[in-house]
Amino acid sequence: MGNLKYSYQTNMWGLKVQYPQLNNWNEWYDNDYSNAAYYLDWDQILKYHIGAGFTGIELMFHMEPYIRQFFGAAKEFTGFAKERGVEEVNGTFTIAFNSQDKSKFNEALRPLDSIADFTKELGGHIINIMPCGGYYGLGPLSKEEVAQAAYFMNEFGKRCSEKDITPCVHSEFWGAINKNELERYIELLDPKHVGFCLDTAQVSILGFDIVKFYDTFHELVKYFHLKDTTFANAPDELRLCAGAEFQDSGERWFWELGAGQVDFIGLWKLLKKYQYKGFIGVETDGTPDPMATMLLSKYYINHVLHPIYE
């Protein structure tokens, strides 16, 4: 057994995986004769993860109501996943909306407490969390707002520790905690209760060298979202505009591991140096074909990165 286990954020399969389980595959294939029926239900999608060697999965915050509506309780979903070979639903993702606004402290905590309960019920131990809302319409934040956002996260971290959960700050290139705020924000975090999820593409797009970044903050980095990008150090006008996540041109921000500019080899050498152990997440968001993206990424991990450290 190696030191690393792999998890995948399931957001690449769509905003909503439409069905828990198809009852009759041919109901969809007949009269259609396309591959659409392969992408409609959790039953098949979970099996793809196991087939590719990902034994953990993560869920997005927008999946919570749907999971509860279809599976009754979150733990029932975990049971469903485990029956198909998933070892752990190890984490979730959410956004700390209004964290910068002191007057909305309690209001902002309410949905986060809910996602913490959801994560606990799933059996997960990590909440990857965007530290504030989007830059467009909110930024640039004042020093006081950055400090308030960090205070908010530390308080949320304390509440999470009672549930054996670590909120891991997940910075986004389009977020209000952006290039100019990130390091100042990190300095204000309480590492006892809060971690950092190093999203290799997001942090590269912001303009940081992710290898140096990990070397500097390796004690705070408790989790990873591995993905690649061809837009390292993207200019402000691309990152900070309305709906920046969805490029008007239709171009992809994110790519399979090894298909872009991220120095995963340098990162892996540091994982070895610092003896990172446990789940490591892959998150490729929406791609033209999630199945191909998952397999290409795992190929890269197995054949390029594992010789360095596994």
């Binding site: 909503k16 969805f246 239709g250």
Partner: protein, 325 residues
């Protein structure tokens, strides 16, 4: 009669490959061109102004032209959006569709008290009318209630009051629309409180509104589609062509997520002509009655939105227009 295309045939909550591309402006620019190439001169847009519900948050902040903010931020302004449509061959926005279920999802996501539902619905309607005005359009298509599953969960002990308040809001919206030269057209889904015969009661109470029959929904609810269209032929506006082979044998109509069955058959809708709905019969009624408005076409939840467009045009040309008497 003119045929328009509903953008809701692109299922944004699907789990198909490349869903994120469908959130980009580029996708919609190209898709509008294909809609035009398929011979549709009008488009019906969805309208959802909310952002607490996570799905609404995800779809409302990108290139999907589903609210005023998206039109403004991604297409410049309503005027520029319309100019773009005209430039590629689409003459007008036939209308926008609001769904009371979106107000319910907003209520639940925001944690507001259940009484706030009514104001959310009312405000969504008022916002939609302003949106229509900005787009120089005049059809407000309204799905009048959330899924029965939600209605019963939250208002089960006061369904009479719920209906009364709903009808009052719809009447207010119909008047406001009328005052602005617009029409409210009510579209009852098979999972609506106003499914089946209750739609006729609703139309009596909201007497300034038109009826927008959605043929597949009516068929699933057990309505004799052509007879109902005939019975209401003078009230029809923005009839929606859709098709199904689905039989609701497991009472999905009263569940939350009614359109995603767990038991039995699960494919609720199919492409036009692939199902059992007498679409030709319904269109014939309108033609015989001298209807000269828009008919909105939709391949609900089609698995291939490109092929679906071409199938839809072929169906209209060869199974409807050529066979109409």
């Amino acid at each position: 009669m003119r045929y328009g295309c509903s953008l809701e045939m692109v299922n944004m909550l699907s789990s198909g490959p490349n869903f994120i591309y469908k959130q980009s402006k580029r996708f919609w620019v190209d898709y509008f061109k294909l809609i035009s190439a398929a011979g549709f001169k009008g488009v019906e847009l969805p309208f959802n102004p909310f952002s607490s519900d996570p799905m609404a948050f995800e779809t409302g902040r990108c290139g999907i032209p589903c609210n005023a903010a998206a039109i403004q931020s991604k297409y410049g302004s309503p005027e520029e959006f319309i100019a773009f449509l005209n430039d590629i061959g689409i003459e007008e926005v036939t209308g926008v569709h609001i769904n009371a279920n979106d107000a319910m999802l907003e209520l639940i996501a925001s944690g507001r008290p259940k009484e706030d539902y009514y104001e959310l619905l009312r405000q969504m309607g008022i916002d939609a009318i302003a949106h229509l005005k900005s787009l120089k359009s005049n059809g407000l298509i309204v799905s009048p209630t959330p899924e029965l599953g939600w209605v019963k969960q939250l208002f089960g002990s006061e369904l009479g009051l719920f209906a009364e308040k709903t009808e009052s809001i719809l009447s207010e919206l119909a008047k406001e629309a009328s005052d602005n030269g617009m029409t409210v057209a009510l579209k009852a889904e098979y999972w609506s409180l106003y499914r089946g015969k209750r739609m006729a009661e609703l139309l009596q109470k909201v007497n300034q509104a038109a009826m927008s029959p959605d043929l597949a929904h009516m068929a699933i609810a057990g309505d004799p589609v052509t007879k109902v269209v005939e019975a209401h032929k003078d009230q029809i506006g923005y009839m929606h062509l859709s098709d199904t082979n689905f039989e609701d044998n497991f009472d999905n109509y009263c569940r939350v997520n009614a359109e995603i069955p767990i038991k039995g058959p699960q494919k609720v809708f199919c492409d036009l002509g692939d199902g059992r709905v007498d679409i030709l019969g319904a269109v014939q009624v309108l033609k015989d009655n001298g209807y000269d408005g828009w008919i909105i076409c939709e391949q609900k939840k089609t698995t291939d939105i490109y092929k679906g467009l071409l199938k839809m045009r072929w169906f209209l040309d060869y199974q409807i227009e050529r066979k109409l008497k």
